[in-house]
């Protein structure tokens, strides 16, 4: 499986996730949340930032069901779902992830066609702190 290849801007997200917290970057001055993380605020140009704890709740904005050809680790689990979840706290922040049966479950732990646009989900954290989503 591919691990996130992170960068300076993204690293805090993954560090918080490893602790079981879903946090998003927000401006330290005007407090506008933004995603993906970046060095300064596109709204007020401040370089100050904070990492805001979210409720971890959201709704499925879209989803796909990939089939092979895929990288070997993913092909073994295909077909699986990938969901894009709109966060309840910050509607413009949508996180890609997988809808799974429970924390740490594989990508194909639910019927790949179980996601529905608009369905409520909440975050759990799998192995290594990777955020996953379970039906709310």
């Amino acid at each position: 499986m591919l691990n996130p290849v992170t960068d300076t801007d993204g690293a805090p997200f993954w560090e918080y996730a490893a602790r079981g917290e879903l946090r998003v970057q927000a401006c330290g001055d005007c407090h506008e949340p933004r995603f993906p993380p970046r060095p300064c605020c596109p709204r007020c140009q401040s370089f100050a930032s904070e990492w805001r704890l979210t409720s971890g709740r959201g709704r499925i904005w879209s989803y796909v069901v990939p089939h092979p050809p895929l990288l070997p680790d993913y092909a073994e689990q295909a077909p699986y779902n990938v969901v894009v979840v709109e966060l309840e706290d910050c509607p413009r922040i949508r996180l890609a992830g997988n809808l799974v049966a429970h924390a740490g479950a594989p990508l194909n732990s639910l019927d790949p066609h179980s996601p529905r646009i608009g369905a409520r989900v909440h975050v759990v954290f799998g192995d290594g702190g990777l955020p996953q989503w379970v039906p709310a």
Binding site: M1, L2, N3, P4, V5, T6, D7, D9, G10, W14, F35, P36, P42, W61, S62, Y63, V64, V65, P66, H67, P69, L70, L71, Y74, Q77, P79, Y80, V82, V84, R92, I93, R94, L95, A96, G97, N98, L107, I117, L130
Partner: protein, 386 residues
């Protein structure tokens, strides 16, 4: 009151086009294919290689200017440019040459793309070049390929507006029907039926095999000169009427899920600039070559470029609108879906053929053509006229 001059409008013309054959596997390497396509385009124009002084291609092009120039015998080059974002750069290569020629930075410009995407590896299988942003937010979860990233937008689009798989089939069918008229097309002898489409294997639901472009080896090139010089060339000039690139504010590339309105992509930005500088409107376009790496890019682009309203792109494809004789004949050489996938360069050359009156699926009297580059990624577009 002074009106800002439109410096590009009809100032330059495409006077030569060239291409290699297209196939899943060609024996020659990319550099050789590039040379063949470029020399064919110059021969078509009646311009000697030594007269070329401007070049433009894609950042993903593997044959660099130095190699191409010394192989085919270009003169001293004074302008060379490469455009990023894969297929989003196709029309921008011509746009950069048009700007350079109109500004006096070059006299004879060549744009080209050579790619062995059929023989070569699929780019997404190379995990070593996985970019940290935005791939860290998508790839670990199994959004691995461009088709997965676009399928996310396709699903949302179908959900919001009621577009259907039949609408996507209309796109795939129009391209295949045109390929069936084009002996150079990879799918020349391979008709497509609705049953084949509806029962084909999934690649990334809701997109199936026939929603995906081909994987092709091939190369294409075109030659651009000033409108004055164009009168002396051996072909009928096809004028660059308007040209634009488009990178919208707060855009995120193909994984454009993180702004207010992910379904209005770069096409909308390019379109605003394109039409602002044009003497005609979408209603006046006779034929369109719209980038079709994936079928769903067509309805999204039809909306972006103003052929229909928001959410109407699916319905626009009904009743043969994209076929010859329809409202907007589409991808008349077969496009990326059925002629060849060479990062959209075949769409540029097909636009030129239509306006010369030499297409294998000629739209009678075609005088205006829209050509677009990849939608979803930072894009570009051209309005061509005869």
């Amino acid at each position: 009151m002074a009106v800002a001059a439109s410096g590009l409008k009809d100032a330059t013309a495409i006077v030569g086009i060239g291409q290699t054959s297209f196939a899943r596997h060609l024996p020659e390497d990319e550099k050789t294919l590039a040379c063949r396509a470029v020399l064919a385009a110059l021969e078509d124009a009646g311009i000697a290689p030594g007269e070329v002084d401007g070049l433009a291609s894609y950042t993903m092009e593997e044959t660099d200017e130095v190699e191409l120039a010394k192989a085919v015998g270009f003169g001293d080059l004074t302008f060379f440019s490469k455009v990023g974002y894969g297929g989003g750069g196709s029309c921008a290569t011509v746009a950069h040459l048009a700007a350079a020629i109109a500004a006096g930075q070059a006299g004879v410009g060549v744009a080209w793309r050579s790619r062995k995407r059929g023989s070569g590896p699929r780019p997404w299988t190379n995990t070593a070049v996985q970019l940290p942003t935005p791939a860290q937010w998508t790839r670990p979860f199994g959004l691995l390929r461009p088709v997965d990233e676009i399928a996310v937008l396709a699903r949302r689009y179908m959900h919001e507006y009621g577009a259907t798989r039949d609408h996507l089939f209309n796109v795939a069918l129009a391209c295949r029907n045109r390929a069936n008229q084009n002996p150079a097309a990879v799918m020349y002898e391979r008709p497509l039926t609705r049953e084949m489409y509806m029962t084909s294997r999934w690649i990334s639901e809701p997109l199936c095999l026939f929603d995906n472009c081909l994987e092709t080896d091939g190369a294409l090139a075109c030659v651009l000169v000033s409108k004055e010089r164009a009168r002396d060339c051996r072909t009928r000039p096809v004028y660059v009427h308007s040209a634009a690139q488009g990178l919208p504010a707060q855009h995120h590339g193909m994984v454009n899920y993180w702004n207010d309105d992910p379904l209005t992509g770069p096409a909308w930005t390019a379109a605003r600039h394109l039409w602002k500088h044009a003497d005609f409107t979408p209603q006046d376009v006779d034929v369109a070559q719209i980038y079709d790496a994936f079928s769903v890019l067509i309805p999204l682009s039809l909306e972006g470029y103003g052929f229909c309203g928001r959410g109407e792109g699916g319905a626009f494809t009904e009743q043969g609108a994209l076929e010859i004789g329809g409202r907007l004949p589409l991808n008349t050489g077969g496009g990326g879906l059925s002629e060849a996938y060479v990062h959209g360069f075949n769409l540029i050359n097909e636009g030129v053929k239509q306006l010369r009156g030499t297409s294998t699926a000629q739209v009678p009297g075609a005088a205006t053509c829209l050509v677009t580059a990849g939608e979803g990624v930072p894009t570009s577009a051209l309005l061509l006229r005869s």
